[in-house]
């Protein structure tokens, strides 16, 4: 594991957010690298300082009563017209995504692909799905906004430990509109954003350690279609609310472009 990658993951390590394999890799690296070990020690010192200072505030004595009495005097309808105007109901989108994720875990997935264990696919599907939904919510659909693959591809250099294949499919009705760093299975992945009329397609790309190619598999959930496949040492997950036929066409085009590029 490189120093750059180790330092990048120090916060995740400290917060107990890494998986076991990466945690062991980190610990091995710390033993052999004083610089990274010092970085860890500094971050631990900061964490310890914040913990011992008990920086949480307790609600003042009267606030609870104030809230209770305002609940008793306000009806729900009045509250909506109170002094604060709401820019958007993000909470509903959040609650919706949460509910959908809960459904995912209850219903499970009937997968035919044998590349990975079903539980892993199920987890990835839930992650890419929630990333897709979240990316459309706020202002974080794109980190780099460009329809030019020669701008988007170099943008990932130095931000990822791999170089994702980037193709523009504008001539086929699926223009590339930008890219974003995202996070799937506790690793940084490339997210490429394509547009089909008013709809967006998020394509998540990261290296496929087994290197085997797999056929495409498609799954529909809550009006969204998720398609996944492996090719040329990468795995791809495409998520969108476009029609299944459109998504399948898009994936076919993307495959064709990528394989002709690599020849």
């Amino acid at each position: 594991m490189s120093c750059e990658l180790t330092q990048h993951y120090v916060p995740g390590y400290l917060d107990g957010e890494l998986d076991l394999v990466r945690t062991i890799e980190m610990e091995t690296h710390f033993k052999s690298c004083p610089a990274c070990a010092r970085e860890l020690e500094s971050q631990q010192a900061l964490h310890a300082a914040l913990q011992r200072s008990s920086l949480a505030f307790a609600a003042p004595a009267g606030l609870r009563d104030r809230i209770l009495s305002s609940l008793r005097t306000s009806s729900g309808v009045e509250v909506q017209e109170r002094k604060i105007k709401w820019p958007s109901l993000n909470i509903w989108q959040w609650a919706g995504a949460f509910g959908v994720l809960a459904l995912f875990s209850i219903s499970g997935w009937q997968l035919t692909n044998h590349l990975r264990a079903p539980s892993s696919d199920q987890r990835i599907a839930a992650e890419v799905f929630s990333s897709h939904v979240r990316s459309l919510e706020g202002d974080h659909l794109m980190d780099v906004v460009s329809t030019d693959q020669h701008t988007v591809k170099p943008w990932f250099d130095g931000k990822l430990d791999f170089s994702p294949p980037v193709e523009d499919l504008a001539s086929d009705g699926f223009p590339l509109v930008g890219g974003r760093l995202d996070y799937v299975e506790e690793r940084e992945v490339a997210a490429l954003i394509y547009q089909r009329r008013k709809h967006f397609i998020n394509v998540f790309v990261w290296p496929n350690p087994t290197g085997t190619n797999s056929t495409q598999a498609i799954e529909s959930r809550q009006g969204y279609n998720i398609m996944r496949w492996s090719r040329g040492g990468f795995q791809f997950w495409a998520v969108s609310d476009v029609a299944v036929s459109d998504l399948a066409e898009f994936v076919q085009l993307l495959e064709t472009h990528i394989s002709s590029e690599s020849k």
Partner: protein
């Protein structure tokens, strides 16, 4: 559901998280009176939304509302510091000077110094540290509350810590 029963159910579910709600509001508004007003407003707002809450993580649900209420309030009452867009640089952990003196500084930092340094961070970083270090939320919960991706939580948290460390080191360096 009759109004009284609904209200009682709400009070039982939400009021145990009142301290967390106020604490987040207090860190985001940096002012006691504003934090109280925002918390009250957020609770009333939560009461309106309560029928749409079907179980799950109540604290995260409530803090999402508190955070939104805070930013609406900040947007109306302050210059747009809270809406700054940051370029997410992943590898930005370089700090000037040797690390060992820095560890000394961090180990001896008192509550007041930390409080001030945290309060001076931009909102976007402060909220990450408050949710992680004070509310002890997981990255997933923070991502849900702040409506950003897990990758963004991770990179913002890293930058928030770097900035806090820088500010603490500078602060103490001046005193010597």
């Amino acid at each position: 559901m009759p109004d009284t029963a609904r209200r009682e159910r709400f009070e039982q579910a939400v009021l145990p998280h009142l301290d967390a709600a106020y604490s987040l509001a207090r860190w985001l508004t940096r002012n006691d009176q504003d934090a109280q007003d925002v918390t009250q407003e957020a609770c009333l707002r939560a009461f309106c939304f309560f029928d749409g809450y079907h179980g799950g993580n109540m604290r995260a649900w409530l803090l999402t509302i508190v955070r939104n209420t805070c930013y609406t309030w900040l947007h109306q009452n302050r210059h747009p510091d809270s809406t700054q867009i940051f370029n997410e640089e992943i590898h930005s952990l370089e700090l000037s000077g040797g690390a060992d003196p820095e560890i000394q500084v961090l180990a001896s930092a008192d509550k007041e110094t930390l409080h001030r340094a945290l309060e001076e961070l931009p909102d976007v970083f402060r909220e990450m540290l408050v949710l992680r270090e004070i509310e002890e939320m997981s990255y997933k919960e923070i991502a849900d509350v702040t409506s950003v991706s897990l990758g963004t939580v991770m990179s913002r948290l890293a930058r928030a810590r770097t900035r806090l460390r820088q500010s603490l080191s500078v602060g103490l360096g001046r005193g010597h």
